[in-house]
């Protein structure tokens, strides 16, 4: 061996001489770029599969959340659309923020005289609830409080009762329907809002 490491030793030249045959393979840049593109494609595919997987989990959960309240005891719940409360031949169409709560633990806690077969309830996403009860006829106008205000709901005469008449209700309506009285009480709704809602939705 002729390499001598003295003070004048040029390590760089010696290394270049020794490593003369050590060169990268042809097309190295191309293979690096290809590898990079492949990695990007894999990352995109991974992201897409995560989105698909999340959608796969999220859609059934969303469906369960929106449609899970079901249609119990003849009170129609219309999936993600408006909720329909039905009692006898009366249907009250509620905005989509309401969910029918019949048959679930989240029943409406309003103290209107009721029998389970003749009551339908719905809860609102804002925390309020609404109860519709069918009672024997001839109660109003004699049984409504003096402070009740007579209003017209569609073709029916009705009396608007303020907060405090029924336990837990912020407003209520006693509707004089043929052969029965329809009581609609709500919590979390002002009297004016209840009249507006029932006038628009009762059929």
């Amino acid at each position: 061996m002729s390499i001598q490491a003295d003070d004048g030793f040029n390590l760089k030249m010696a290394l270049e001489c020794e490593l003369d045959g050590v060169v990268p393979y042809d097309g190295l840049a191309g293979s690096v770029i290809t590898r990079y593109r492949r990695a990007i494609r894999r990352r995109v595919a991974g992201a897409v599969s995560v989105v698909v997987a999340l959608a796969g989990i999220g859609v059934p959960l969303g469906l369960a959340a929106s449609g899970g309240s079901g249609d119990a005891a003849g009170t129609g719940a219309a999936g993600s659309g408006p909720v329909l409360l039905r009692l006898a031949s009366y249907t009250l169409k509620l905005p989509s923020r309401y969910r029918s709560s019949d048959g679930t633990a989240a029943r409406c806690d309003i103290g209107v005289e009721e029998s389970p077969a003749e009551t339908a309830t719905a809860t609102s996403s804002s925390g309020g609830c609404l109860q519709m009860t069918l009672t024997p006829p001839a109660s109003p106008p004699g049984t409504v409080p003096r402070s009740a205000e007579e209003v017209t709901i569609g073709r029916y005469r009705a009396w608007l009762v303020a907060s405090g008449y029924w336990r837990g209700a912020s407003s209520g309506l006693v509707i004089d329907t043929p052969g029965s009285d329809l009581l609609i009480a709500a919590s979390g709704l002002s009297p004016a809002a209840l009249v507006s809602l029932v006038s628009a939705g009762l059929s």
């Binding site: 390499i3 490491a5 003295d6 290394l15 490593l19 990268p24 840049a29 590898r35 990079y36």
Partner: protein, 176 residues
């Protein structure tokens, strides 16, 4: 030419000019040609991935990346020492090992460099294979310039001793 095509063209030019010295430095810093080529490709991949940042000074960027990759390999090797084969495999492996050793024996300087402490090896590789200045070497290795100078000096001294010992060994085997 699109922006992506320009980027690839600039990167290709950089690879053509810098990859040989990077490979040689990797060969000094790591143990085998395969490891060195793998480290080189990873270095270039990481450089290309960050080309927008690296393009101002791709040599400096790739130098630092290569050093980091080699350090990662050393740390990995320290944590996962190679498992030696069973006794029955020794005969078969011995032939391969001796062949590899025979090929490697040509690289006297490289083998001597590999015997140096890590910092000295890194400094000498940066200074003499990657043509980095003292300050560039300090930046790539994350050490002070004074440390670079002292490590270079001690590394050269150590190399000198190792090569002298190697020469004496060869003289004994092949006298005259």
């Amino acid at each position: 030419m699109s922006r992506a095509a320009e980027r690839e063209a600039a990167f290709t030019r950089f690879v053509e000019t810098a990859s040989t010295s990077l490979l040689r430095a990797a060969l000094v810093l790591l143990d085998t040609r395969e490891e060195a080529e793998d480290a080189l490709q990873l270095t270039l991949l990481r450089t290309f991935r960050r080309w927008e940042r690296a393009k101002e000074a791709p040599e400096a960027y790739s130098r630092a990346v290569l050093v980091n990759i080699c350090r990662e390999r050393w740390r990995h090797r320290a944590r996962h020492p190679e498992v030696t084969g069973a006794l029955g495999d020794v005969g078969a492996l011995a032939g391969v090992a001796s062949f590899a050793e025979a090929v490697d024996r040509r690289h006297v300087l490289v083998r001597a460099l590999r015997k140096l402490p890590a910092v000295q090896r890194e400094v000498l590789a940066c200074r003499y294979l990657l043509d980095a200045t003292v300050s560039e070497t300090a930046a790539a290795l994350g050490i002070a310039e004074g440390t670079v100078k002292s490590a270079a000096s001690r590394g050269l001294e150590q190399l000198r001793l190792l090569l002298s010992a190697e020469e004496k060994k060869v003289s004994r085997v092949h006298p005259g």
